[in-house]
């Protein structure tokens, strides 16, 4: 009566995991994606991996096995293989206009590991094919409709319409999920803005800093308001992924990255560099969905989340969705279990204040001005951060930096106050302060 037991819409890191895991358990499943091929990453992705620490409610342990790495998800209770070694990163830098880096370094435990998203995806795709999972590419799902006992999926392929039915639907169609929007989930969510990004993967970069990620802000380097991230790439010791973050219109990102690599004071780094791969994405900061399912449709991965779940979180979501959907098919309350797990795991769900903390690391320059940051960074170079105890995760990074900057001798009291405000503020306060600053600037 139904075409499939389960249809998975979107075959990224979470979708591929869910398809493979369901097929392994003998469920009649189909994966649908808009891309032309599933073993390649087209959308720019973060490419780093937080392990050996409690992050997003999960403790991930890496086990190097020669030419591959086994990744153990200790709490969810499963392991996957990544078919290449992962590089450990011990440094993270911040650079303002004065080009003096502010460095946090560790010596014993790496801050994170890097990986190649394309390798990750192709490994998951091969695994899913091994189990015999069917896929449908170049297909865009435009509408989902609940019918008695199941879901009707309307899709478009080669400009033609088609329909399929299934008992349960897993929507893993990423950030700005069409299914979440069509079902009206986004009406109750608060959007904090759209930020497009472009990413150049470059080899032959002559970077004088110790290998690590570099966060740059300041109009002098970038040419206009915006930010640049340089994340080490696994393609070699001189390979970096250069990413931008700016507001709409999106073409500004292209201008920023061209200016940065060709005209800025950093252009000598890229004199002999070659662009290996280009990718882009449109990122939206939007508050998470608390109950990510309705009827027979469950939303997983980036779609119902705040900003991003990263590859590691997406894989976790895909696995849990597969486990709980199988239970749901058997008549148990699987989706309720998924919702419980969803709300107890990701940090922005456990504590909504973390959403603000996530954005704080990008707000130093905007709130304090680049001149103040130059002064602080020059001061910090004399008193570097003793980093062994500083766990600079995604969410506490801002607080760690503020605590260090406040402890420096000779920081003027008004700046200390501003820094403390930044550390303790929630999103509402912060937005109000930024609006006030913008008005003062106009006057």
């Amino acid at each position: 009566m139904f075409d499939y037991d389960v249809i998975v819409v979107g075959c990224g890191p979470s979708g591929l995991m869910a398809v493979g895991e369901l097929k392994k358990r003998g469920v009649n499943v189909l994966g649908i994606d808009m891309k032309t091929r599933l073993d390649k990453n087209f959308r720019s992705a973060s490419g780093f991996f937080f392990d050996n620490q409690e992050f997003n409610g999960e403790f991930i342990r890496l086990e190097p096995m020669g030419d591959k790495t086994r990744i153990h998800y200790e709490k969810c209770g499963f392991s996957i293989d990544y078919p290449a070694p992962m590089e450990s990163i011990f440094n993270t830098h911040m650079v303002s206009n004065s080009v003096v880096p502010y460095t946090i370094a560790t010596t014993k435990v790496p801050i994170y590991h890097t990986f190649n998203p394309t390798t990750w995806l192709s490994a998951r795709y091969q695994k899913a094919l091994e189990y015999g999972s069917p896929f449908m590419t170049k297909t865009l799902v435009t509408k989902v409709k609940e019918i008695p006992g199941g879901v009707e999926v309307t899709m478009r392929k080669d400009g033609k319409r088609g329909k399929l039915t299934c008992k349960k639907l897993i929507a893993a169609d990423g950030l700005q999920s069409r299914i979440a929007r069509e079902m009206g989930f986004n009406r109750m969510r608060g959007s904090m803005g759209i930020g497009p990004t472009i990413e150049y993967e470059m080899v032959g970069v002559e970077c004088p800093f110790p290998r690590g990620d570099i966060y740059l802000f300041g109009e002098k380097m970038i040419g206009q308001r915006g930010q640049i991230f340089m994340v080490p790439s696994p393609r070699g010791q001189d390979a970096y992924r250069v990413e931008t973050a700016a507001q709409l219109p999106a073409i500004r990102n292209y201008q920023i990255i061209e200016h940065f690599t060709k005209q800025s004071p950093f252009a000598p780094w890229f004199k002999n560099a070659k662009v290996v791969e280009k990718s882009a994405a449109v990122v939206e900061l939007i508050t998470p969905i608390k109950v990510p399912y309705r009827g027979n449709i469950v939303l997983v991965g980036d779609g119902p989340s705040f900003a991003e779940v990263l590859y590691q979180g997406a894989t976790m979501c895909g696995y849990m969705a597969a486990v709980t959907t199988e239970k749901e098919l058997k008549g148990q309350k699987g989706f309720d279990e998924y919702t419980q797990w969803w709300n107890a795991t990701f940090e922005w769900n456990v504590n909504p204040k973390k959403m603000g903390d996530y954005t704080k690391r990008f707000l130093f320059g905007r709130l304090l001005g680049t001149k103040t940051m130059d002064m602080l960074f020059e001061l910090a170079a004399k008193y570097p951060l003793v980093a062994e105890e500083a766990k600079a995760g995604v969410y506490d990074f801002g607080a760690v930096v503020v605590n260090h900057l406040v402890s420096l001798p000779g920081v003027p009291p008004d700046i200390v106050e501003k820094l403390k405000f930044l550390r303790d503020a929630d999103m509402g306060l912060m937005a109000a302060q930024l609006a006030k600053d913008a008005q003062a600037l106009k006057k």
Binding site: M34, K35, T36, R37, K40, F42, R43, S44, K138, L140, T142, R156, K157, D158, G159, D173, G174, L175, Q176, S177, R178, R181, E182, G184, N186, R187, I194, P196, T197, I198, L248, P249, A250, I251, N253, Y254, K278, S279, A280, A281, V282
Partner: protein, 314 residues
Amino acid sequence: MPTITINGKKIEAPENTTILDAARENGIFIPTLCHNDGLIPYGGCRLCVVEVTQGGKTTVETSCTYPAEEGLVVKTDTERIRRARRVIIGLLMDRSPKPIVIQDLASEYGIMDRPTRFSIENEHCIRCGLCVRACREIVQARAISFAGMGFERKVTTPFNESSSDCIGCGTCELICPTRVIDMRDLPDAQEHNPGDHESIGPVRTLDNWNTEFKVKVCKECGNPFYPAQPLEKFRQAQNLQPEFFNACPSCRIPPHVDDELCLGCGGCVVNCPIGAILMKEKEVEQRSNIYPEICTGCHYCVDKCVVGAIKLEE
């Protein structure tokens, strides 16, 4: 399929149709005033009366509400029917002699210069209820309805106040047979306060319902094109992005993708409000592909493209 006879002609009417539909389908004219194919039959004006013979009994019925049943014998133009219609048109002439539809009917039935029994009231509205039903059934706004009884019956908003349910779509003005509803689009309205006035831009007014709407200005050409309120209502009903109705219909041209610049990241595919962009293969890479026959030209994708590969002009 029931078989009925209209004016001596045997007609096979489809299931669940009325006599009026069956007659019009076969080229037999029956005059109407309150009937519209898009609305539920109302039977208000009684102009569509016909003689219906069923089981040896002949009655006068409204054809717009009478279902076409097996074995009916219908006559649409007998002297009895013409007399009934003359009475109806005569009464309408007494109250509303100005509308052209009424004058046309009166001259056709030869009662233009008929001596009147009442003092002529000269009112335009003929209480056909088309505007009320269209607002309820098509627009689903329910902004207007009938109020009062007897000869004081009239179409109005609740308590004759400015209605917050009215969305300014203009369906009532379009459907009214007597042109009594006064809708105007003002290119540049001004708000007058004592000793002062300020320009508030293009405005649509509906005097009958005491409402006034700001009209949206096209982002591309700068011309006003439609009231913002109904556009917002349609947008929310369809879960579309806020920028979907920014451009006027004549500026809605499908953009095209520059294959050399496009990175194939899929940012436009997920952002397209209606799913008009898909992926196509280009060697090992992929490229965005806009289907012009699906695209509505909202240009939402244009400023979302990171490398500026989506362009409006060749």
